[in-house]
Symmetry: C2
Subunit: 337 residues, 2 copies
Amino acid sequence: MRIALDAMGGDYAPRSTVEGAIMAVQQMEIGVILVGEEKQLKEELTQFKTEGLAIEIEPAAEWVEMDEVATSALKKRRSSIRIAAQLVREGRAQGLVSAGNTGATMAVAKIVMGALEGIDRPALAMVLPTPGDPSILLDVGANVDCKPHNLWQFGIIGHTFVNKILNIPNPKVGLLSIGEEESKGNELTRESYKLLKKTPINFTGNIEGRDVFSGKVDVIVCDGFVGNVLLKVSESIAETMAFLLKEELSRDFFSKIGYLISRRAYQNFKKRTDYAEYGGALLLGLNDICVICHGRSSPKAIKNAIGIAKDFYQSEVNQKISSQIAQFSKMHHFRKD
Amino acid sequence: MRIALDAMGGDYAPRSTVEGAIMAVQQMEIGVILVGEEKQLKEELTQFKTEGLAIEIEPAAEWVEMDEVATSALKKRRSSIRIAAQLVREGRAQGLVSAGNTGATMAVAKIVMGALEGIDRPALAMVLPTPGDPSILLDVGANVDCKPHNLWQFGIIGHTFVNKILNIPNPKVGLLSIGEEESKGNELTRESYKLLKKTPINFTGNIEGRDVFSGKVDVIVCDGFVGNVLLKVSESIAETMAFLLKEELSRDFFSKIGYLISRRAYQNFKKRTDYAEYGGALLLGLNDICVICHGRSSPKAIKNAIGIAKDFYQSEVNQKISSQIAQFSKMHHFRKD
């Protein structure tokens, strides 16, 4: 199998993408198609011994900038991300990996690959660090205005993903709300609760903000606006705490040592909340596989993302999601207005 | 002037509330009416020299438990929180302070005191720590489903509060969203943006989750669902970081010292995000003054809350909010459906 990599996407592309691809094909049974500006890619490849490696180049004359808006990106019909997505759609590759502009990647992937049968809105899922096994949070930004049936689908998608990819039997699915009782929350969560409750997955009810990083559930369902705010707040808290720690610990010699030592812990926390380290965020609910890495991804993070895409394909998560949605949908009468 | 204190509300009530009230009347020019079970309150008061102090008792035969739901609390017509709110409404006291059940306090205050002329939904506001001056975030839980005109009103309320109480001239007001451009966000924030933009306050546009604790703006506007999730996530991150820090720093002797030293910083961060330390969260947009402390409030936190209620009354914030809402409303044609 082969992965199409948007070799032009990412803050350090194409250097980091090419190196990540080389690492992947050397270490795993996988081929990579580098999609991008041919001359640049060839030049990067000269730095490595590529003889016999399953690496190809697919030329793309243009690419999407990291700060380009999705609407403008969609107009670039020959961009590296678009061509990479098309390679997957046409079956020449089995998964897409991009460290480029997240908004543009989502928009292109949704248009080119299309949603899985039964899925109204694909969701961006992210792996969160907890004291125990990681949890996944979805949606973290693909859908800012959701209906109850969207959140219900996110729950099934998350359940299947965690079960198949993270190998957690009967994963716990929680709905992010502002109180544990079914009656707590806003209109969206209260209605979504009713749907999830009636579905034969291990839905454990509402979870509150304080439990997001606790590992209390394996899958946390929310709309993309709340999920995105939550993620970005989490990053900023780590920074504020580092600031306060510095303020607190700049008093005397021992305090300074304490600070220097504990700075590592912040860096580790940032790493654990950074999706590059986990090999990527995933756009789930598409007909094909799309792994989105952080723009700052290192070659190792790119390699990990390629590995995730491979697992994703081989575990047949999409087929399973589709069949569960079809099966569970029969139990509900949705109002999709 | 006098403050009505729900002396039965809070995890350590009536001990902490009585002691906080004593501290307040000793240190400020203020009187306090302790509302609660007469016998218990008299007994607590015997521990202090109260001669000549402006402390009174208003008997209340029942009270609301910390975990009681608001609907049940509302049925207790002779509860300490209800009687305290009525004392304020009738003009026998000039502000209400409670460390009791937040949901019940909000529900009772809204019903007994009523919303200020022109305000559709009072908002719960909280002071957030930042590296510089604190910011206020509203709403943090009073309104889980908002319309654009609600968020617009929260902006004006926050602007006036910060200007009058925190003495910040021309405070910056930001709208919490998931991108800085006007076009980013969900339907609610995009519509609210249009309203705020046309209002003669210092609206600086959207702010993202990562800026919540940065002090970039003085007032952060969001709906109560998002605000509540955000606050609770913030608390949990501090705990997760403490866990990771411990894990990271339990390796050798110096690391252990580093951990012990830096634990203070976490405790300080928790304090700074804990509204007890700031003297309370505020229910803004009511006809009267309502300060809500954390259930775990110490006597000092109760005293601070009484001080905030006093400032609030003396600075005539409510009158100013009302006049600004009246003035600015003329500029808009709201759809309040």
